[in-house]
């Protein structure tokens, strides 16, 4: 009897430090289907597929291919088993042509490149799938959509019977998506299985024969095409099946009634920002942040939230519009001058943008404050005694686990690093705090600690703009939630109107 399922992952568990990325996940994909893998950012989609492709090794769990139990410890193994993966970011060698890229790693003969023969094979696959692209142009000169086609052909050329596509549509326009879909249909007819990772419900509904929805590292459900409705998918993606489970996993934070200031601390007026790379930037965004409130910003990553965070402290990125802090325009101010106005910031990527890795905690606490009166003497010298005091206070107030302020910050854990970054934001009385994913990758206790600090700031009359990709967390701590999609502000919800389904739908552009 032939096995119906091509891939089976059983009870897979994977933790990164204290954070559980995948919790007892079981996933199956049948032969000759397009199987969607749907979930928010951080739901565990990519982690699961990276395990299947051999980039990560699971802490627990089993993998079956064609009914046979296998061990995959590197992509070398998975390629041999007929698994191909197209990553979000191109993995082609930019200096090579399409043909050179596709045959890379295949020839058996060490001394001869069988370009002519392979070329014929490649052309045949291209014809079957109706994919066309130039074979002899260096791939660095080709657009992202074409590179993706080359990667697909490369996987098939290596005789893949399972093709994993990680967010394949991020760099595609609508017509390219249609064409991709057509090619995938041809593949499926030939018996190839496609796993399609995305966070876009629309694509799942159009492309997939069945879908598995992940949420916070757990499988919500696997459903067939006939059962798919937009409403059902949104619910699976954003809501718990069993409410009780969540409450223990989510941070507990008390949010007393807001004492909102009469005048806004920060007014954002029709701002526009040009996007970098894939992101579309910000289009004509306006909102206010009041003293004594936490304004949450919900968005799926890549929809302008990065630009919003950056422009608030680096107004030179503005291509249009204005930002007022306490009625004064900050449009022409440098980042350091914005900080001097009482604006504080904690960046999204705490390691890459937040810390001076080899620097001491003291040097780190000073960063961005070093031109403020308190630390800057005679327009020339740094007052290191004051910096030491500030660092000691941060360590004490934020319970940073460290013997002293001279320790190199890279030796701290992620949670303690985030505490130092938070402490740095509150070295001075803060009018406005801009914080971007302050809790990503942290354990629940640290999350609670950090959220309590945000709430404390709010209760003391400070304005907080909290950009967070985790909607559950936002709903716990926000007084209002603004939704960004595609660089546009899709709406602002009052706390009384919070509705996970409605907000989730807006986040994905529905």
């Amino acid at each position: 009897m032939e096995n119906k399922n091509l891939v089976e992952l059983k009870n897979v568990r994977k933790a990164f430090g204290k954070v559980i990325a995948l919790d007892n996940v079981t996933f199956t994909a049948a032969k000759g289907e397009i199987h969607g893998l749907l979930g928010e950012n951080g739901a565990g989609k990519s982690t699961l597929m990276n395990i299947l492709y051999g980039l990560y090794s699971p802490d627990k769990g089993e993998i079956y291919i064609d009914g046979k139990k296998v061990r995959i410890s590197s992509p070398f193994d998975s390629i041999k088993l007929g698994i191909g993966m197209v990553h979000q970011i191109s993995t082609l060698v930019p200096e090579f042509t399409a043909v050179e890229n596709i045959i890379l790693g295949t020839p058996e003969d060490k001394f001869k490149l069988p370009i002519k023969e392979e070329r014929k094979k490649i052309k045949k696959i291209m014809k079957e799938l109706e994919l066309t692209f130039p074979l002899d142009v260096k791939t660095k000169e080709l657009p992202a959509g074409v590179k993706q086609k080359i990667e697909i052909i490369r996987a098939l050329h290596k005789k893949a019977k399972l093709l994993i596509l990680d967010e394949p549509t991020t760099s595609l326009v609508e017509s390219e998506f249609r064409q991709l879909l057509k090619s995938l249909r041809v593949l499926v007819k030939k018996g190839v299985t496609v796993i399609f990772i995305t966070h876009k419900i629309k694509e799942i509904m159009e492309a997939c024969d069945s879908v598995t929805v992940l949420r916070r590292g757990k499988v919500q459900d696997t459903i067939n095409k006939e059962q798919m409705t937009k409403e059902k998918l949104v619910k699976l993606m954003f809501m718990e099946k069993d409410i009780k489970v969540t409450e223990s996993a989510l941070p507990k934070v008390e949010l007393p009634p807001a004492k909102r200031s009469k005048k806004p601390v920060c007014v954002v007026k029709n701002i526009e920002v040009k996007g970098k790379e894939k992101s579309k930037g910000l289009k004509n965004i306006s909102f206010e942040v009041y003293g004594g409130e936490i304004l949450g910003v919900a968005s799926v990553s890549g929809n302008g939230e990065k630009e919003l965070a950056s422009v608030m402290i680096n107004p030179s990125l503005l291509s249009n519009g204005d930002i007022l802090v306490n009625d004064e325009s900050i449009k022409r101010l440098s980042t350091l001058s914005v900080f001097n106005k009482g604006v504080a910031y904690t960046p999204e990527d705490r390691i890459k943008e937040g810390i001076l890795n080899d620097g001491s905690i003291k040097e780190n606490v000073l960063l961005g404050h070093h031109t403020e009166k308190r630390f800057f003497k005679k327009n020339l010298f740094i007052d290191w005694d004051e910096a030491t005091k500030a660092a000691k206070k941060t360590i004490k107030d934020y319970n940073v686990a460290t013997p002293n302020e001279e320790l190199a910050i890279r030796r701290l854990s992620g949670g303690n690093i985030q505490k130092v970054i938070m402490g740095r934001a509150f070295v001075n009385p803060t009018n406005l705090l801009i914080t971007h994913n302050p809790t990503s990758g942290l354990d629940v206790l640290t999350v609670e600690f950090i959220f309590n600090k945000l709430v404390e700031t709010r209760n003391n009359g400070g304005a907080v703009l909290c950009i967070n990709e985790d909607l559950d967390e936002l709903m716990i701590i926000s007084d209002r939630i603004a939704v960004l999609h595609n660089g546009e502000l899709k709406g602002i919800f009052q706390r009384s109107e919070f509705d996970k389904y409605k907000i989730g739908l807006l986040m994905i552009g529905g």
């Binding site: 402290i313 680096n314 440098s334 980042t335 350091l336 914005v338 900080f339 910031y345 960046p347 890459k352 943008e353 937040g354 810390i355 001076l356 890795n357 080899d358 620097g359 040097e363 000073l366 960063l367 961005g368 070093h370 031109t371 800057f376 020339l380 010298f381 740094i382 290191w384 013997p403 002293n404 001279e406 320790l407 890279r410």
Partner: protein, 355 residues
């Protein structure tokens, strides 16, 4: 109480570790050198003794060592400061040449006005600093504005500086008619520095430079910004530090220090501009500056000691050639070995060391 113990222990192990790194590197390096010396047919104990002790056996040896240490300190800083933000200044040689040449030209041009020493010397020092600084800054500017790799631009600027030396040293205005080689007329005595018991007065400027660099890097805002950018460019930019400005400033500083070094060579050691003056034992001070900086892993605080150590080896090498006819290249070999071994061993021992 308990906390303090942890700090001390931390510092103690750190010190012990770097001492053992250096000890081990020197041991292996000298071992290898001994083998080569033996293979060449020379007496190993005698050679090693000459190499290490010449600087300390006679007043002359010590004076020579100091004479080599001073320019080395300057070129080592010239490499080290841009290296703090991960850029390579290969141009210390050119910056030194440019500083020295500018000093010779200006000194000869205004030499006839009869200005006293206390005006002439500070003036020429400023000329040397500015000329070297300009030469360094230009490489930083090219990086900041046009993203041109400083390795390329500083090497190219070296060639220009070499030609500039020739241009000044051979032009009729400056050339000494009695010399066959490109050499200028001597500077007026008001423009030169003397010696104190054989130690050049330029050592005062070297000490001032050491203090200046220390205060600049450890106590000032600029030093903090340079250190921050060196630790993490993205974080520094996110928190408002201007990267372009920092690049230009580090190259300006490095170039200015190398330029001062060149000025002092001309004003103190030679008293005139000689083609190829920025060399010792047949190789440029610029290259030795890079080696010296690598010995201390680009740490600015270690520069004076490392420069002295390298000078000891250079003086020892000269003595080896004089007394035992061992080629002076032997010492380049040993220095290269020491640097390589230190880098390798540090990588092994210190998880995050060795940059």
């Amino acid at each position: 109480m308990k906390k303090k113990n942890i700090i001390q222990k931390d510092l103690g192990t750190k010190l012990l570790r770097s001492l053992s790194v250096y000890g081990l590197a020197l041991l292996i390096a000298f071992g290898l050198i001994s083998i080569i010396i033996a293979l060449l047919g020379f007496s190993v104990p005698e050679a090693l003794k000459t190499l290490v002790t010449t600087s300390f056996k006679s007043a002359f040896g010590f004076q020579e060592t100091i004479k080599k240490t001073i320019p080395l300190i300057f070129t080592t800083y010239a490499f080290t400061i841009p290296f703090m933000i991960k850029f390579f200044n290969i141009g210390a040689w050119g910056q030194m040449l440019f500083g020295g040449t500018a000093v010779a030209a200006v000194g000869l041009l205004i030499g006839n006005f009869g200005l006293p020493s206390f005006i002439m010397i500070p003036l020429l020092v400023v000329v040397g600093i500015s000329a070297g600084g300009l030469w360094g800054w230009f490489a930083g500017f090219l990086k900041a504005k046009y993203d041109i790799n400083p390795i390329i631009s500083t090497i190219m600027l070296n060639f220009v500086a070499v030609l500039f030396v020739n241009f000044i040293a051979t032009s009729p205005t400056f050339k000494d008619p009695l010399e066959g080689h490109p050499i200028t007329r001597p500077l007026p005595s008001s423009a030169t520095l003397g010696f104190f018991h054989g130690i050049p007065y330029s050592i005062i400027f070297a000490i001032l430079a050491i203090i200046f660099v220390y205060i600049l890097l450890k106590k000032t805002k600029l030093g903090y910004e340079i250190t921050s950018v060196g630790y993490n460019l993205h974080s520094s930019q996110t928190y408002g530090i201007n990267f372009q400005k920092t690049i230009m400033l580090t190259f300006l500083l490095g170039g200015a220090l190398a330029g001062l070094g060149g000025a002092l060579e001309v004003m103190n050691i030679h008293g005139k501009l000689i083609e190829g003056f920025a060399k010792t034992s047949g190789a440029q001070y610029g290259v030795f500056g890079i080696l010296t900086s690598l010995v201390v892993a680009g740490s600015p605080t270690g520069v004076p000691i490392a420069a002295f150590f390298m000078a000891v080896l250079l003086v020892g090498a000269d003595a080896l050639q004089r007394t035992m006819q061992i080629p002076v290249e032997m010492v380049f070999l040993s220095q290269a070995l020491i640097v390589l071994l230190i880098v390798i061993i540090r990588k092994k021992f210190e998880p995050n060391g060795g940059k």
